[in-house]
Symmetry: C2
Subunit: 420 residues, 2 copies
């Protein structure tokens, strides 16, 4: 039985999870594969902080990344550092040294991905990154194998567990944003600096990666209009509830006539849709495709064990290729020219919430609203499909009265016009 | 670019779906693969009935299965005949002739699967069958790749669309079983002879295949206790609703202490569980595993296009292996000795419904019932965890009064005791 030698960069939550799961599943891997893995060395920032970590006997703990990426014995490097810059240099050097790469680094893959993936292809090494999107949901492998023969028209994801946790807590416990965030931070579900999560940046990175697999198009960060959840008010959640909807931070990419319309931001989801029931730190991705219709994949979006499992599934795929001398196949080989459009500017329906002014009634805008309701401190209405222009005029008029006016798109009410 | 020649057995719903999708996705396949497919010949029972079918120009239509399985030019045979006997002979002959096989034939795979799969391994040909379980959900590939590194403890599936359609219609439209079934037959969701679907035989075949992938154990049909949905009454659905539960035909396999406990039959599912919201012909599979916790996969369980898509994903995997000269790897290579146990005999909770006798009240069985309710024509109660013995004594006592008594297990209340 062949032994495949691996090196690990980083021993934080994800790195430790990989070490644990690798030891735990060694027997099952030996039973089903014709190779075994040996973890040779782990590079960390500060060795003394990891002296008591539970590593397999004989594992080398080093502070030099080059001890891993330049070691001729190491065949696979698992990058679990998580930042863009030192990770990028380390990965490139490992690739140039002929090592296959496994990474969960969505920031790096979304921003510098195409460039590094080209390098890996040229060097004929494997580069897998299942854990970079929706930690424990095997969505990238599903898209690149089972859905490869289908034509995908839309991907809709709840792919940031922190944002979904905060919104779920606001909804269930009737809290405002600041209180719910503070609570999430205390419980470890939000970081001290939650910017990337609550502003939708993390979800945007993941949508960029998903869109490459689903549509073959590589979007840039600036291509995707983005709104965060920091301004969502209890009145908005209450008005959504009046219309039997839930507010979630969605990442959406929808192809129509070769154009790829996208957005990341909070949206109101009707209760009949499966994504409305995805709560807390759970992630879910709904895929609309020609042959399958809608398939939905639900599971944990983060956490040491789920992320480690995705990394281990990448490890098995790489190990298999190494044994067969067949490295260099791309994780995703679907590519088309990118044609980015904004999903925020197409005609759609909106949930409008007006606070601090209860003088408005049904009769004011009979043509625009399909339903309206008045709550204790707000008035809210559900528009028909209207243009962005009409929305802006409406908001402007409503604001004239000194009211606090907010709007949310209704999920799947988007009407992009194919431009063929 | 290499051309891979394929032959097709059967041109019913599934066969036609494959031909259509293959033509539709030819451009995408050419873009992402370094090979193309050519459909050379199709074997049908009666040629004249398929004269007007839309086949690619030059495709041979034959009534002789041997024209396909003995043709030296054909590299992959897609079996879409659907019955056990002639399909088995045809597949074995094709394997012996060195052809790779793709099949959606769950009956064959569940009953004679291990034997044919061994033959394929010996002959070093591929044998994939993603479409055999939950048509459009890529569950087998997920289990054999992404979940291969995890330890699965339970699989719970709604994997028969007909039964789920009938139960959903009974629940939503307040119909009895016979009316709901008749309606499903008229709409094409149930066959003229619905036995395999409504008696849980189809779901049992699928559970046998799922259990091989998830637990490495190959159960026999007789190992799995089975109940159908034919006796489910409107009163049972109404009493489930009283306790905020839904009745679904479940297929469950749960590993505890190396024993594999299983059942196929109707169960009451609390509304908080994702499977309670899977309606109509939709299928869903919930997987409990060590690293991931719960992941759920939802999608179409049948239909020409979803089934064809699963067959095409198998085709791509086989094509890839042929181009690389690497056929013969097994779809599932996880095997352990089977240790079958019944999940119906372990302690669990039950929903008891009593019709035609409303004399029973709370006070009769204060220790056994956690909650009780009285409906217009029935009385129902939710037991605590009780043994099978206690259940049977209870049913016996209740029946003494001349009442019609029925019971349903509560999903995930099963308490198998590990026997290590």
């Amino acid at each position: 039985m062949e032994t495949i030698t691996i090196g690990l960069l980083g021993l934080g939550t994800v790195g430790k999870g990989v070490v644990t799961l690798l030891q735990k599943q060694a027997a099952k891997i030996a039973r089903t594969q014709d190779f075994r893995f040996k973890l040779k060395s782990v590079a960390v920032h500060n060795r003394t902080r990891h002296q008591n970590d539970d590593l397999p006997a004989g594992t080398i703990l080093t502070e030099k990344v080059t001890d891993v990426v330049d070691d001729p014995e190491i065949q696979i490097v698992i990058e679990a550092m998580g930042t863009i810059e030192p990770a990028k240099v380390a990965i490139c050097q490992a690739i140039l040294n002929g090592k296959s790469i496994i990474s969960a680094n969505k920031d790096l893959l979304a921003t510098a991905g195409e460039e590094i993936l080209r390098l890996a292809k040229t060097a004929k090494v494997d580069f897998f990154y299942e854990a970079s999107v929706a930690g424990g949901i095997p969505i990238l492998r599903v898209l690149s194998s089972s859905l490869e023969t289908d034509k995908i028209s839309q991907i809709t994801g709840i792919i940031n567990g922190t944002a979904n946790y905060v919104l779920t807590a606001m909804d269930r416990e009737d809290r405002d944003y600041a209180t719910a965030l503070k609570n999430a931070q205390e419980l470890g579900y939000a970081e001290a600096d939650p910017t990337n999560d609550v502003q939708g940046i993390d979800a945007t990175y993941k949508l960029i990666i998903l869109s490459r697999f689903a549509f073959g198009q590589s979007l840039r960060l600036a291509d995707i209009p983005r709104r965060g959840i920091t301004k969502i008010s209890p009145a908005q959640l209450a008005s959504a509830k009046q219309f039997k909807m839930k507010i979630k931070l969605l990442a959406v990419a929808k192809e129509a006539g070769h154009q790829l319309y996208s957005l990341v931001g909070p949206a109101a989801i009707p209760a009949a849709e499966p994504l409305a029931h995805v709560n807390g730190v759970q992630n879910a991705i709904a895929v609309q495709s020609d042959a399958l219709g809608e398939t939905t994949y639900t599971g944990p979006g983060a956490g040491a064990a789920p992320t480690a499992n995705s990394i281990l599934s990448d490890l098995l795929a790489t190990g298999d290729d190494i044994v067969k001398g067949d490295c260099g196949r791309e994780f995703n080989n679907y590519r088309k020219p990118a044609a980015a459009q904004s999903l925020t500017t197409v005609p759609q329906r909106y949930l409008i919430t007006v606070e601090e002014d209860r003088s408005l009634t049904n009769s004011n805008y009979p043509d625009l609203f399909q339903q309206q309701t008045v709550g204790p401190h707000y008035w809210s209405g559900l528009t028909s499909v209207i243009s962005r222009d009409t929305l802006e005029k409406l908001l402007h008029t409503l604001e004239k009265n000194g009211a606090k006016v907010s709007y949310l798109p209704i999920a799947n009410s988007w009407q992009p016009v194919p431009q063929e």
